[in-house]
């Protein structure tokens, strides 16, 4: 799970650029804390705007962070010009998303020409403590450069 070799020497810049093109990440207050080949950590501050009925962060928002961490982790390893799409993910919710700050940490488990499998974990940070609150396993699909350029057309995951 270590020592992935990016195919795109410019992986860092394009991964950050792709992340920043996602307005949802800005709206949710999620940013990149660490980015290595096949590994990405995102962070998000608590915001009452994204809570569920008990005042904790909504599971869908936690999932957005986990999914995005997986997507960018997979993106670091695909060829220049290719795009990435999420095929599927599963989230297990282990504890309430209660904290001042949240971290979403993803790792590529198996890179592939077409499909990449990632795992991610979400943590709630409060005081000095860090509590595991959710896990994700997901599949992402690389779009060949030509397909990736036809945005809004051929983007279905199949």
């Amino acid at each position: 799970m270590a020592g992935f070799r990016p195919k795109n020497p410019d992986y860092r810049a394009v991964s950050i650029a792709t992340f920043e093109q996602q307005r949802a990440m800005k709206t949710l207050g999620i940013s990149i804390a660490r980015l290595e080949p096949g590994e990405v950590d995102l962070v998000m501050d608590y915001s009452p705007e994204f809570t569920q009925q008990h005042g904790f962060i909504h599971a869908g928002v936690i999932t957005a962070g986990l999914d995005n961490a997986c997507g960018i982790a997979a993106f670091t390893l695909i060829p220049a010009g290719a795009g990435i799409l999420t095929v599927e993910f599963k989230t297990n919710l282990l504890a309430p998303a209660r904290g001042d700050r949240f971290a979403f940490r993803a790792t590529v488990v198996k890179p592939g020409r077409t499909l990449t499998v990632c795992e991610a974990r979400a943590y709630a940070l409060q005081g000095g403590a860090e509590i595991l609150i959710a896990t994700m396993s997901g599949t992402l699909m690389a779009l060949a450069p030509r397909e990736a350029s036809v945005e809004g057309k051929a983007l279905a995951p199949a």
Copy 2:
């Protein structure tokens, strides 16, 4: 999948109240379109604030809608005073979330004293067309009334 009998005669009012206590739903612009015992439809307008890099709605936001539809569908069938938590869900993304409006339709597949299994589908609505864009299967857990009242304490899904 039809003819569920709610245990709580007041299920409609408490389901709506629980939904409305979720600030995330308001922030995301998601509202209830239909609510029957074991079945819930939510709707959401397109908003550029919740898009990914291609201008489509982010998968995490689609998942938030699907998860909430499942949660409220399960909630309609639990006893008065009980609470509901998501244990896990899996989302398959079938097509880009491109549309003017989105629908999230959930059905209880198997109600239970402790665990309830739901399925949900997300549709993009554009022009007169309705396109299936994602599916979810998820597990929800009922919290006994006593546990449900200790908010912020015993809410872990285990």
Copy 3:
């Protein structure tokens, strides 16, 4: 979910042949009960050899039936010469696998050039009753004819 058009006019014969090449299906006593484009029903008799600690059929065996139903349902819709691989699946277990006979019914939810998403349900049959015992959602991947012929070499799902 109806009216799928097979690309391979010979889909029926090749689907049955692929199924019959799976020794696991024979060992588990699973056979095809119905096969239409994008829809497959399998059946299995109860066998004490495949039980768990309570005398019910093991969840892994139920999953083998569900996965195979999905795989053959996807196979009916792919081009001549192509192969099929399972990428991932999730199983929810709803009730004990107690019965004289079991049915596994799969439907293609979204066919695709590369990926096909299927759903399946497992039922226990006992007396005249039919009880839903498990659900599956899964992703399958078509292998291009050339890849499919290099059996034992390029079969990784990525």
Copy 4:
């Protein structure tokens, strides 16, 4: 993920006994290689009887091994007299199950009074090499001693 404290001092003997009551494990040739609190490794030799159309082990059989590893890992941590049931699992298949021998290694990620979440990985062993072929994340449910004794009656996962 280390240092789990079993509630049942006799966890080792009862975990092994539960495993051995599963005839499916014997039929599939799966046995326990290592058992610690919250961690279980199972092994299985290749058998042509459980293969799919390319001669590799069927995904359902790999899943049976992964699920059982999770079940026993969860079982090591539950109170004396309690039983365990699988609620759900998701399997990602990463590479063909080609090898002389297979290992299924599970770890408890989050133990709980009612629900326990586990992760497991399957490896193919061939020559000296060990290849990751599948991952699982799953949820298991503890049955209270009274329920666990009513075998064949109250065993539904809900």
